[in-house]
């Protein structure tokens, strides 16, 4: 019966198609599983918490995803989800809507976007505690221990734009049969932080530091997340 209906539709529709199809595929977020590393300045750094907001994500056919050259996306994940970036197991973020085509790059937000009609950026539902990322890092060197808390907000610079542009996705033909894992490397982000300098900011010597916007370490994290060590896209059929 279904075959008859399909044939009837093809007959009525004049046999053929209009090219691309509309499809969906699941998107997951994951970490690398690397929670510790040795910093250059001798500190041993252990990430105890790395909750990172991912989304929305827009996939483009252009080699460098940017709103100017990619006003129409090939695929998009509009949901925003928090990823435990210390867990290398893929965690479901949502389902991407797509049209069949080629993805070469992406632009995305870390849970904070600047919607066109709004005067300033804001966090989307799903962002951990309303931030792009929430970290707790413990750094040790010899007998010194430094606990660093950071709630990072990464917002687009312009309304309607995305915070992170030009993220390579590899050249992938979207068919609707695939699944995607966006892998984050928080250890690499924190590797850009100078812990020696950070320890010097612990004025009350209590071994705890909370990063704030404008702090050198905070800005280093933002740069790492938006251009230094970008998420990687792993496609699986």
């Amino acid at each position: 019966m279904r075959r008859v209906a399909t044939l009837a539709l093809l007959f009525l529709a004049g046999c053929g198609d209009t090219g691309q199809d509309r499809v969906t595929f699941p998107v997951h977020g994951a970490g690398t599983g690397e929670a510790s590393f040795e910093a250059d300045d001798g500190w041993t750094v252990t990430l105890e918490r790395a909750d990172v907001a991912l989304g929305p994500i827009y996939f483009c056919a252009t080699p460098f995803a940017d709103l100017d050259v990619c006003p129409r996306a090939e695929a998009e994940l509009l949901e925003v989800g928090a990823v435990d970036a210390l867990d290398e197991t893929p965690q479901m973020l949502g389902t991407a809507e797509a049209i069949t085509g080629t993805s070469r790059s992406a632009m995305m937000d870390y849970g904070i976007g600047w919607l066109l009609p709004e005067p300033r950026p804001r966090a989307f539902d799903g962002a951990p505690r309303g931030h792009s990322a929430v970290f707790r890092v413990v750094a040790t060197r010899e007998d010194a221990t430094l606990t660093v808390d950071a709630a990072v907000d990464i917002a687009p610079r312009n309304a309607g734009a995305n915070a992170v542009i030009g993220v390579p996705t590899g050249t992938h033909d979207i068919t609707g049969e695939e699944s995607l894992t966006v892998r984050l490397d928080p250890a690499a982000w924190w590797a850009r932080v100078g812990f020696e300098a950070l320890a010097a900011t612990d004025e009350d010597m209590d071994g705890a530091v909370t990063l704030a916007p404008g702090d050198r370490a905070y800005e280093a994290l933002v740069i790492a997340m938006t251009s230094g060590t970008l998420p990687t896209f792993e496609w699986a059929d």
């Binding site: 009525l12 053929g16 509309r22």
Partner: protein
């Protein structure tokens, strides 16, 4: 000896002189003639008989056969009835024929008297009558000389030929009470009919019996006038008022539903033209269809809302007497925008509707319409005036609209000179509901008939005004010669505020201004002047089997266009971006040569060539735009000129193996002018070239054309197609495209009171070479070989109407009328592998009239189907408080639900 000439006489509805065409060629089917010395008489001036008022209710379409005696000067000396159709019809036929003038019969070059037989066929003035043709001369050659016997009787095979159109000013001549000419001599008296056939003439008639006398006179002829313009292809149709009236029609655009393969819908409210689809073309607002009213072009070139934009709102459906439809490009007179074809609205008010008419309608959604029409009795059909006012709250949200239209038409003069003047004024304003995302409808975020609850949506509206004036004059000479000239002028003002995409745009002028809503304001003002001239030669007769005409034509127009496009921020409608600010002057001068030649009785060849020169002068005041990040090193603006020439052949061949059957093949090349603002300086105007081929047949059954059946297979190729680009609210190129398909069309009048039409159209429309991937669009939506989106492969249309006198009340007939119209569109392919739902719409009407009063009810979309008047795929953002979607989504504008109107009409 026999002279046989065939030309169908049309009666009563001696319709108007159209601005671009009159009359029709009487087709002469030559009979065997073997006396080279004998030349038959030829009609040089004819007057159409009036359909007797007393017979209107009978709805008969009889034929009266007359014996007519001509003297040496070609004047009618005597006429009497040979085959009666009743006193009233006989009188009308006699009165008309007595006013005819002939070129006398000749023997050896010397004029001689003659007796001929004339069959006058009456057709109902409007209901179910064939349409008055536009082209062709009045003169009907009476040809073929044969000494073997009487000519064929009435109805004997009219050959292919253009029809003839009697014009205004023609009226019935004085008829004698007894139906015979008082000065007539007895038809059987030899002295009164001394035309001599080769064999019998010297001997005079052999007896007193009329038939014998005819034989003895040696010349017998039948003259009929072709009822309709003769088509060049099987895809050419004349849709008369019988079909047009069969189903309810709110406006002139609805009349287009009767065109085979056509679907017309109002998707943007009462002040924006219909969206049109014809035979595989998503013609938007007219880009692919040459639309004319009485020959005056309606399409507006380089319009900002769409190339060839055409709004027919100013045409009141009550004054449309016929549609002349040419699908394909086979007639050299077809000009710009004749891509899918050409449609001419022909105006006139038939005899049965003349007088002063008031028609008041009220119904669903507080829709009110008042029509006043003035069509003086005893004046030509082309003389009338009409005005209408309409207002409605509209279905669903934000569809309130008001409009007013007036049209005045005067038909003047008499043969050989005739003239026509007409003027139109129209204004309309309407709110627009705009488009809706289908996913929003499905999720219940917005109702199907609603509008987005957003200031930028609620500010959508449109306004249109049009003024049009045209004048034509025509002279008809001997032997088919005809000269015609038309001048026209038009003013059109168009303004629309429409938001397709919600919140996606960024100001070009001030890039930091974003998110203020994509309310596009378009303004277009066009002043046009045009003229058209045609000259058709007398008939050239190179041999008995080879004769025909030449026609030369010229059409020219100048358009002065002012256009702007801005972005507005609702609700104050502050301008927050400028996109277009341009002045355009465009000119189009076209000329054509057309041949119309008969090769024997069975083959007719027509065609020629047409060339058009186009000129553009564009002052693009926002050209060479300087982005904010660049230093200003020059002053904004870009002036440019361009010129181009398009030339293409058109040809058709018709073969008539049997009298009622025509086999036709046609080929033609046409063009569509470019959007002037997209031209660069010095560019050779890149025309859209269309190549069109058609192979088909036409079968005519019955003396009164009870059934006309045609079928064709067609092919159309466009060098550059265009589709709607919603981000800019305008049409953008998508490369070449091809359409192949077939059409079956039938018009039937099986009974005098019953009229019907059915068309079935199939098309396979594909993109041949879409724009290649670019940096801006690395994966374009359109792929090679993909189906053209939005084009319905199957279009079916059926119209059936019946009108009949039911009984008598107080000595006057009580007439009832019913009619239905049904449209079906198969699922339309949409981008990204989706298909639109099929559309099935049924309209119906019922009315009753008695004496001067008519009561009726019209129902549109009787099944209350939920349907989309238009569908689009593009990126939009109507949920500005959520992350913006950037992949194209399906959008629709809702079609009208069940609408019922009651109408009270009074005719004095």
């Amino acid at each position: 000896m026999e002279v046989r000439a065939l030309a169908l006489a049309r009666s009563a509805a001696w319709l108007l002189i159209p601005l671009v065409g009159l009359g029709g060629v009487a087709y002469a089917q030559e009979a065997p003639g073997d006396d080279p010395e004998l030349t038959p008489p030829r009609v040089v001036e004819s007057v159409d008989p009036a359909y007797p008022e007393s017979e209107l209710e009978s709805r008969r379409a009889p034929t009266v056969t007359l014996h007519v005696t001509l003297d040496e000067t070609g004047a009618v000396r005597e006429a009497h009835v040979d085959d009666s159709a009743g006193e009233a019809f006989d009188e009308a036929a006699l009165a008309a024929v007595r006013q005819w003038r002939f070129e006398p019969a000749r023997r050896g070059g010397e004029p001689i008297p003659a007796r001929i037989r004339v069959a006058v066929r009456f057709s109902l003035p409007d209901f179910g009558s064939p349409v008055e043709p536009l082209d062709g001369p009045d003169e009907h050659p009476v040809e073929g000389v044969d000494g073997t016997g009487p000519g064929p009787g009435p109805g004997d095979g009219p050959g292919p030929g253009d029809g003839d159109g009697p014009g205004p000013g023609d009226g019935p001549g004085p008829a004698d009470d007894d139906g015979s000419a008082p000065d007539a001599e007895p038809t059987t008296e030899p002295a009164a009919a001394p035309v001599e056939g080769r064999d019998a003439a010297p001997e005079a008639p052999s007896g007193d019996e009329p038939d014998e006398a005819d034989r003895g006179l040696g010349v017998s002829a039948e003259i009929q006038r072709e009822q309709a313009e003769h088509p060049r292809s099987a895809s050419e149709h004349t849709i008369d008022r019988g079909v047009l009236e069969s189903a309810p029609r709110r406006e002139a655009g609805d009349l287009l539903q009767t065109v085979p393969g056509m679907f017309a819908a109002r998707a943007e409210g009462d002040a924006v033209g219909h969206r049109l689809m014809l035979r595989g073309f998503d013609a938007e607002h007219g880009q692919d269809i040459e639309l004319t009213v009485e020959g005056v072009p309606i399409n507006l070139p380089s319009h900002i809302h769409g190339q060839g934009y055409a709004d027919l709102s100013f045409v009141l459906p009550e004054v449309v007497r016929a549609l002349r439809v040419v699908e394909g490009v086979y007639d050299p007179s077809q000009g710009d925008f004749a891509v899918a074809g050409s449609i001419d609205f022909r105006l006139g008010v038939g005899e049965d509707r003349r007088g002063i008419t008031s028609q008041t309608s009220y119904g669903s959604f507080h829709t009110f319409r008042q029509l006043l029409m003035w069509a003086p009795e005893n004046e030509p059909e082309g003389t009338f005036g009409a005005a209408a006012y309409r207002r409605t709250d509209g279905f669903g949200e934000a569809r309130r609209g008001e409009s007013g239209s007036a049209i005045l038409s005067l038909a003047l003069g008499d043969r050989p000179w005739r003239a026509r003047l007409f003027g139109v004024a129209h204004g309309a304003r309407a709110s627009l509901a705009g488009v809706l995302r289908v996913d929003d409808i499905d999720a219940g975020r917005v109702g199907f008939l609603d509008q987005y609850d957003d200031p930028t949506a609620s500010q959508q509206s449109a306004l249109n005004a049009r003024f049009l004036f045209g004048a034509s004059v025509e002279h008809r000479g001997a032997q088919g010669m005809r000269t015609r000239a038309t001048v026209w002028t038009s003013y059109d003002d168009f303004r629309i505020q429409e938001n397709f995409t919600g919140y996606t745009q960024r100001s070009m002028v001030m890039p930091e201004w974003v998110g203020r809503g994509d309310l596009i304001e378009q303004r277009n003002e066009t002043v046009s002047f045009g003229l058209r001239g045609e000259h058709r030669t007398s008939e050239y007769r190179l041999a008995d089997w080879l004769h025909g005409f030449f026609e030369l034509g010229l059409a020219a127009r100048v358009d002065v266009i002012e256009q702007r496009q801005n972005l507005l921020e609702a609700p104050q409608n502050e301008t927050w971006d400028n996109r277009v600010d341009a002045s355009i002057t465009g000119a189009d001068v076209g000329a054509w040569l057309d041949l119309d030649w008969h090769l024997t009785d069975y083959v007719r060849v027509r065609g020629g060539v047409r060339g058009d020169a186009l000129y553009y002068d564009v002052d693009d005041r926002l050209g060479n735009f300087i982005p904010a990040y660049r230093r200003e090193t020059y002053i904004l603006g870009f002036r440019r000129t361009a010129f181009g020439f398009a030339v293409g052949p058109r040809a058709s061949v018709e073969v008539r193996p049997l009298e009622p059957l025509s086999l036709m093949v046609a080929y033609g090349e046409g063009y569509r002018s470019p959007q002037a603002r997209q031209l660069v300086d010095g560019e050779r105007a890149p025309f859209t070239k269309v190549r069109s081929g058609d192979l088909g047949f036409r079968l005519t059954v019955g003396d009164d054309r009870q059934l006309v059946l045609s079928g064709s297979a067609y092919y159309t190729h466009l060098s550059d197609d265009i589709v709607f680009e919603p981000r800019q609210g305008r049409l953008e190129p998508v490369g070449p495209s091809t359409r192949m398909g077939g059409v079956l069309y039938a018009q039937a009048k099986p009974l005098p009171w019953l009229t019907g039409a059915l068309s079935v159209t199939y098309v396979h429309a594909t993109l041949d070479e879409p724009p290649p991937a670019s940096a801006e669009d690395p994966t374009p939506s359109f792929e090679e070989g993909a189906l053209l989106p939005f084009v319905p492969p199957w279009v079916i249309r059926a119209d059936v109407g019946a009108r009949h006198a039911l009984f008598e009340l107080d000595g006057h007939p009580f007439t009832g009328r019913v009619g239905v119209g049904f449209s079906f569109l198969s699922p339309r392919p949409l981008p990204y592998g989706q298909f639109a739902d099929p559309v099935a719409l049924l309209d119906a009407q019922v009315s009753a009239s008695w004496r001067w009063i008519t009561l009726g009810v019209e129902a549109y979309n009787l099944f209350d189907s939920r349907w989309a008047a238009s569908e689009f795929f593009f990126v939009s953002n109507w949920r500005p408080s959520a992350p913006q979607t950037r992949i194209p989504a399906r959008h629709i504008s809702a079609g009208a639900p069940l609408t019922i109107l009651a109408t009270l009409g009074v005719t004095l």
